[in-house]
Symmetry: C2
Subunit: 201 residues, 2 copies
Amino acid sequence: MSKPCVDFWFDFASTYSYPACMRAQALRDEAGVAIRYRPFLLGPVFKAQGWATSPFNIYEAKGRYMWRDLERLCAELSIPFRRPDPFPQNSLLAARAAIASEGDSWHDAFCKAVFRVQFGEGRSIEDPVVIEAVLHDIGAPARLVLERAQSDPVKLKLRSETEEAGRLGIFGAPSFVTADGELFWGNDRLESALAWARRTA
Amino acid sequence: MSKPCVDFWFDFASTYSYPACMRAQALRDEAGVAIRYRPFLLGPVFKAQGWATSPFNIYEAKGRYMWRDLERLCAELSIPFRRPDPFPQNSLLAARAAIASEGDSWHDAFCKAVFRVQFGEGRSIEDPVVIEAVLHDIGAPARLVLERAQSDPVKLKLRSETEEAGRLGIFGAPSFVTADGELFWGNDRLESALAWARRTA
């Protein structure tokens, strides 16, 4: 029998997806549950809620709190934190490169590395040079991946994944969805999602 | 030396304040930290963010998720759950009665009981008869408290508490604030707030 699985839906620009992604591997192994990364774009989801940018930019007090909370969380997890500028970053290229790497051995490492350079080092993931360097650093064929990232099947896949997120009731990131359709929202719910998947497998 | 203290800011109509209030006593005792209840009104805070009602009513997917998440949380905590109708309830009378009971022996029990009848039994806390029954059940002088609840000093105190919440950067409930001004938002952050208060005391 295969392991139970949790789908980890995220936008690379999503702040709380950073600690979630950094915590995912250890928690996954501990729980005996597989995690499948499902990058999508929050932009269209936010637009459907009437927001032209991240709610953390629209609602000032909430945004101020989020940055402080994230700083505290990262300190607790002993992971580096540096705020990227601008926020949110345009995550289109990173998302396409991740989808272009699906099934490849470096896929999970790429997702983790994109979060780390963005929120750990404050670098711009909008910059193709940064994404290329990330791919290179994890031993992936950078040029080839970036070429694939611009292909129609990859562009279409990212669009359909974003639509699927909406159909699943996803309204923010990170979100975790179990095989039986239970939705868990937020870094704080990663443990609950894994426990649910194990219990209902 | 007196115990470190965390201020627990809530609106009685706030859904996640229910599990937070049900968990507060045990966690407080375990952490050796005092908790001071600070009821306020979310309405003016939401209004400042451009919302005429709860964001859970405005953003459908988020609202649907919240009710399911709350149901799961309550099941996990083995506390009853029943959705009040309408939501959100008008919490003005309950908040005033809580402020009118400040310093009284039944104050904390009253706050807990209001949450329990509303989200555990689905009863209407807008109804003065319900609030009177709650006061009576916990052994408080119900008529006297309700009379005090309508006095000018109590009305003014609730207004100034709501303004103070805004000044502290509070944008939702429950929120927890430590003596050194650290803000923690959400039922999920109660443990972090208590740990912070103990560490920095």
